[in-house]
Symmetry: C2
Amino acid sequence: MASRGFQVEQHPFGPAVGRLVEQFAALPGIGRKSAERLANHILSCSTPEAMALATAIHEVKKTIRRCSVCFNLTEQELCVLCRDPRRDRTVVCVVEQPKDVSALEAAAAFQGTYHVLGGRIAPLEGVGPEDLTIGPLVQRVKRDHVKELIMATNPTLEGDGTALFISNLLEEQQVEITRLARGIATGSVLEFANKEMLADAMRGRQHF
Amino acid sequence: MASRGFQVEQHPFGPAVGRLVEQFAALPGIGRKSAERLANHILSCSTPEAMALATAIHEVKKTIRRCSVCFNLTEQELCVLCRDPRRDRTVVCVVEQPKDVSALEAAAAFQGTYHVLGGRIAPLEGVGPEDLTIGPLVQRVKRDHVKELIMATNPTLEGDGTALFISNLLEEQQVEITRLARGIATGSVLEFANKEMLADAMRGRQHF
């Protein structure tokens, strides 16, 4: 089948469908052909079914905000995790973005709470510590008597730098600072691991 | 990364995001992980950008209807193609679905008009000729003095059967009935062609 590259106004079903294809194609990982297929799905499904997606988008943009404690995304003052009485408030996992919270939650290997920085310190992009939620994190460590801070920033130069900056800031506090184990990615093959991964894995080797 | 399988109410960003992920995952070809990624995109992009998709869905479901001549999808009484004065009304290509119109239009190899049947005759599914737009097609052939009807139903048993049914109906009309050439798919390899494709290709062989 030929690839579909209709101009919005030239779409054989009219410009409204052309605009819909355009909007789908603007989503990450959706090409023109998938966008056309998604638009065909919207055209062929019932109006309530199609409107459920439109409404879900609308609802999310209307209701979503930042948790006042951990800056995770939420619809209420506190996020689902900060509201949960079973979560340990004295163990805080520090991540860059809300999507890192959902990645870690999916792994279901952590029972503490989170702190979302909103990015990492990146001088070249003009992102300094004051652009992140580092101030509230320091306050939170003091106020909630946090015992352990687990640094789960991305394993990049900037992510590591941000973790280091925070741990320096908290040097005088009674808080243990750890970071996620790193090394060979579980499920990967040694052959494709790069130098840094292998060096980290060697340095952090554990008893069998 | 672990696969994400949050219940709607358990999503770490709250139920509104859970519902959005659910809606994206209901689209064809979108798995849970892609749905989560699309929801993250909606969360991180600006409200006007996100609302453009919601609005496009809304607009399409509100405005789209069937062309009164060819039953293609359109926002107006007549579709873009039936309104185009350069299109030949005496050559009509008969297809099953509107998406077949956009596939053929993308190939840009046809200057006539279309007729969308709305499906194919499928007795086992209870779809008879009266459920399709065959009646209006017969009227159209007579009224517009159609010279050629190109059958472009799908090359399946039911698609072929539908084409045969229509050509029998129009036996007494002064209309030439043709069908799309079939055989080896252009760009494919002989090795993977099935028996029916090879037999069709052999039967319809052309001078080099």
